[in-house]
């Protein structure tokens, strides 16, 4: 499976799975199973009320009862609040047949949301085990190598509320059946609040929650036969054959068009048919532009007729010497992709730039903007989606006094009003000459605008090595401006990222600069958190260590929700460069949810290792007999 499941509206859903919402094998003969399968994809809630109240959500099955699951891999990303598991949300037994789960491997992201709501029964592999009835449940040879993102702020989900890295909660026994576990292995990355137990707390059946049953960090006697070999590779290798393409089917997400030359790239830019901007593309060679680059996704003659809403699959190839001519950028935005649009109902597939294991690599990027653009980014000017994996090196973004009055300039994205940036980087210089308008400038993103329409927005596992020059507005090593205006219960974050700033230049009156964020404005509810993030400031230019300017909204009383939290290791070095001094660079001191009472773990400076999001294993898929589908067209009929 390679499915994206989008759940809309504010009503809860139950029994949602990457493969099966609910699996149940009933009366004899008990030969029901799910086996030797791969589940890939992710789950999205577009409404947080529904997300918080839905339950039984699993990467393979939402609910699994009375049957066998064997040799199954899941890298289906799940999220929710109640009974969420990377493999199974809720396991049940019954009166007829045993329930067996064995030889399973989870690499997806498991995200729990608390936010003051009931948050229980969530686990990396299994969320919750219902009362064991008269039949048995055995759970053997399971390996968790995914990511747990427990964003349940203020919830100690490792304790009373039953969340665990392997299993969340286990209900008291309901019958004479046995619950046995063997060879459970955890090699996960997790951002976890509270005590990160390997298994949650249940009543009874404690043997399966004993940490002695769970190996950590290395494989714990994981089987080398069956579905996986000693290197965790699949033994049952498959690959789908590509159907004989026709003009109607090429260019979609699963069958992208091929770009073999600079001319092919520019054909997309120059297409005014409203067709190519909706397609997806796969690079088939390195493209060296040397003055011949044309941007995609603009408005008007020569640059297509609207935002680009497809995907780019780099396929291991690079874009070299990308020289963006602002006169090719229509409208108020400029970048390699002028605007990355919402796919909406046109394709129902989210556009993406790069993939988890296939980054878009850009070596050499120059852009000089002088004509009043407002959203300026090396990769994307104005983004309504996001970037999964893009790496820009040798970047130079420059401009002068005519940059627009609301301008946002970022090494990767100018203004991001929806979407996130993952596993991406910018290395280069952003140099803006004296301007009366003082744009917001960020090493990765100029402005991240979180509001009630944006959805969660995050910058994760990314870095910038940047030299700012010239005189402009607020500058941040990662983010120029965080605008957090009344986003309801949305959450935004910067996690697992770093910035190295080799110069801030000068900053306009009324602005200041920060090692991570230049300016942070917040009004209304909503949370922003920062975790495992570091700034290294190699500059004597005036700046705050972490955040330059903190501007609460006019309704200060709305600050009762955690508005900003530093979680774990967030550090800046050296503080001597920061005028915020002991206040860890916060320009505004009166925030109240700073975990750790201001203590910063400076040992991170030497120990910090940039760790990109673990690439998902590739899926190769081939039918055993190699005949499908229709390799030989029987002819016209």
């Amino acid at each position: 499976m390679d499915a994206q499941i989008i759940l809309n509206g504010n009503n809860p859903f139950s029994y949602v799975g990457g493969m099966a919402g609910r699996f149940e094998s009933g009366t004899a003969p008990n030969d029901g199973f799910i086996r030797e399968s791969i589940v890939k994809g992710h789950l999205l809630f577009t409404n947080n009320t529904a997300r918080n109240s839905s339950f039984a959500i699993g990467g393979v099955a939402g609910h699994f009862r009375q049957g066998v699951m064997d040799k199954v891999i899941s890298h289906f990303d799940v999220l929710g609040n109640i009974k969420v598991g990377g493999l199974v949300g809720e396991v049940g037994t019954g009166a007829n047949n045993d329930t067996v789960i064995s030889n399973v491997f989870v690499t997806g992201t498991v995200k729990f949301h608390g936010e003051g709501n009931a948050n229980f029964g969530n686990g990396g592999l299994i969320g919750f085990v219902e009362p064991i009835m008269t039949t048995n449940f055995s759970f053997n040879n399971a390996f968790f190598d995914g990511i747990i993102d427990d964003n349940s702020l203020g919830q100690n989900c490792g304790g009373f509320l039953n969340c665990g890295v392997i299993i969340g909660g286990i209900a008291p026994p309901g019958g004479a059946g046995n619950f046995s576990c063997n060879n459970l292995t955890n090699d996960a990355n997790y951002n976890y609040i509270g005590s990160a137990s390997l298994a949650g707390v249940g009543s009874g059946q404690s043997g399966c929650q004993d940490s002695a049953n769970v190996g950590t960090g290395v494989r714990n006697n994981f089987p080398t036969t069956g579905a996986f070999d000693a290197d965790r590779n699949l033994v049952f290798v498959k690959e789908w054959k590509i159907l004989s393409p026709s003009l109607d089917t090429v260019g979609n997400y699963w069958n992208p068009l091929e770009i073999k030359s600079v001319a092919d790239w520019n054909l997309v830019a120059n297409d005014n048919s409203n067709l190519l901007r909706r397609k997806s593309f796969r690079l088939m060679s390195d493209l060296t532009f040397n003055g011949n680059f044309k941007p995609w996704g603009g408005v008007g003659t020569g640059t297509g007729v609207g935002p680009f809403i497809g995907s780019i699959f780099p396929n291991g190839y690079r874009l070299i010497n990308v020289d963006i001519d602002e006169t090719e950028c229509s409208g108020t935005s400029c970048g390699m992709i002028i605007e990355l649009g919402l796919s909406g109902l046109e394709s129902l597939v989210m556009p993406n730039i790069g993939t988890w294991d296939d980054p878009l690599v850009v070596q050499g990027l120059t852009m000089t903007v002088t004509s009043g653009k407002n959203e300026i980014g090396g990769v994307i000017g104005l983004s309504n989606q996001g970037i999964i994996n893009a790496r820009v090196s040798g970047g130079l973004i420059a401009g002068n006094a005519n940059v627009g009055s609301l301008a946002s300039v970022g090494g990767l994205v100018g203004r991001m009003r929806q979407g996130s940036v993952y596993s991406s980087s910018f290395q280069g210089q952003i140099s803006l000459a004296s301007s009366a308008f003082y744009p917001y400038v960020g090493g990765l993103v100029g402005t991240m605008a979180v509001d009630s329409n944006s959805g969660d927005m995050n910058i994760e596992s990314s870095f910038a090595v940047v030299t700012f020059a010239g005189n402009s507005g607020a500058k941040g090593g990662i983010l120029g401006q965080l605008s957090h205006i009344n986003p309801g219960d949305l959450e935004s974050s910067i996690r697992g990222s770093y910035a190295v700033i080799n110069g801030f230049g000068t900053t306009g009156v009324g602005h200041s600069s920060g090692g991570i964020i230049g300016s942070y404005g917040h009004a209304g509810f909503g949370t922003f958190s920062m975790a495992e993030t570091i700034a290294v400031i190699n500059s004597a230019d005036a700046s705050q260590a972490i955040i330059g300017t903190y501007q609460p909204g006019s309704n200060y009383n709305n600050f009762d929700n955690p508005s900003i939290s530093f979680i774990g290791d967030v550090a800046a070095h050296p503080l001597a460069a920061a005028s915020g001094g002991a206040n860890v660079g916060m320009a505004y001191p009166s925030y109240s949810n700073f975990l750790g009472s201001g203590t910063i773990n400076y040992t991170m400076e030497s120990e910090f290792i940039f760790r990109a999001i673990d690439p998902h294993p590739k899926m190769f898929w081939e039918f055993p007999d190699g005949t499908f589908p229709f390799m030989d067209d029987p002819g016209e009929y």
């Binding site: 499976m1 499915a3 994206q4 499941i5 989008i6 759940l7 809309n8 509206g9 009503n11 809860p12 859903f13 139950s14 029994y15 949602v16 799975g17 990457g18 493969m19 099966a20 919402g21 609910r22 699996f23 149940e24 094998s25 009933g26 009366t27 003969p29 008990n30 030969d31 029901g32 199973f33 799910i34 086996r35 030797e36 399968s37 589940v39 994809g41 099955a61 939402g62 049957g67 289906f76 019954g94 159907l243 026709s246 109607d248 089917t249 979609n252 699963w254 109902l345 046109e346 394709s347 129902l348 597939v349 898929w621 039918f623 055993p624 499908f628 589908p629 229709f630 029987p634 009929y637």
Partner: protein, 289 residues
């Protein structure tokens, strides 16, 4: 073209530009034949094509097929092509049931259903329930083994309320087995190739409700988005099957986006199947998917 076929053998027939208005399509309507219901004489069809045709269901229409409205006898059909067909029903009209681009309804019969090498292209099928891109409903009460293989459905849109499948809307019956093999539903039609407004919606099959009537799915694929939006709960939506009571899904794949928008609490949403198995079933299976 025919009211009923019995013991017929038809080969190399092309039907173009048929228009069946609402006044003529209340029950059992199809471009080739209204019914195939002779109890003993099976029918063979080969290289039959239907192009550019429109069927407008009447207010009480049911059993509407692009080729045949209702089949209740043995049928062998191979190398059939349906291209640019419209069955323009109303998904809010509860009488608009059992619509399919090939066959509206295959009922209990004395003969097997054998379909192979069928192409359904550029067609729109809309009704209320038991709506399929190939067949609206199969009802097997006679312990028959039906075979449906090598079917391609390209750029079609299938719209219904309950029991909506890219290939077959609904399976009923108390016995027998139906095998779908090498079936490919590929659609990039916006907003989705398969659209529901109720429940029991799947990329291949909307609903199989009998635990004794097995559905086997082998080497099949759906590459299409599935879009379900409506008032009330939306239950049982899957990339291949919405409600899957009994059978085995092997070597098959769903690729696409499933988007669900209900107004009440909803259940059973899955990339392969919304719900696999019910409490009284035999062993439902999925392997090598």
């Amino acid at each position: 073209m025919f009211a009923n076929l019995s013991g017929a053998k038809i080969e190399n027939l092309t039907l173009r530009d048929f228009n069946l208005p609402a006044a003529s399509t209340n029950t059992d309507s199809g471009v080739l034949a209204q019914t195939i219901i002779s109890p003993t004489n099976s029918v063979e069809l080969s290289k039959v094509k239907v192009f550019n045709s429109i069927i407008t269901p009447g207010p009480n229409a049911n059993n509407i097929g692009g080729l045949v409205g209702r089949v209740a006898n043995g049928l062998q059909a191979r190398r059939i092509r349906i291209d640019n067909l419209s069955i323009d029903g109303d998904n809010t009209n509860s009488d608009h049931v059992r619509f399919g681009a090939l066959i509206g309804s295959h009922g209990s019969s004395q003969g097997r259903l054998e379909l192979s090498e069928v192409k359904i292209l550029n067609s729109d099928i809309e009704g209320a329930s038991s709506i399929g891109g190939l067949i609206g409903r199969i009802n097997n009460n006679d312990n028959l083994d039906h075979s449906i293989r090598e079917i391609t459905l390209t750029q079609n849109q299938v719209i219904g309320r309950f029991g909506v499948g890219g290939v077959i809307g609904q399976f009923q019956g108390a016995s027998g087995q139906t095998q779908l093999e090498k079936v490919d539903f590929d659609s990039t039609v916006a907003p989705a190739g398969i659209i529901g407004s109720g429940g029991d919606v799947g990329g291949l099959v909307g609903r199989t409700e009998s635990t004794n009537n097995r559905l086997i799915i082998k080497q099949s694929r759906v590459s299409s988005n599935i879009f379900v939006s409506g008032i009330g709960s939306i239950d049982q939506v899957g990339g291949l099957v919405g409600l899957y009571a009994n059978g085995n899904i092997m070597d098959s794949l769903y690729q696409g986006t499933i988007s669900i928008t209900p107004t009440l609490v909803s259940h059973h949403i899955g990339g392969l199947a919304g719900r696999m198995g019910v409490s009284s079933n035999f062993g439902v299976k999925a392997e090598n998917n």
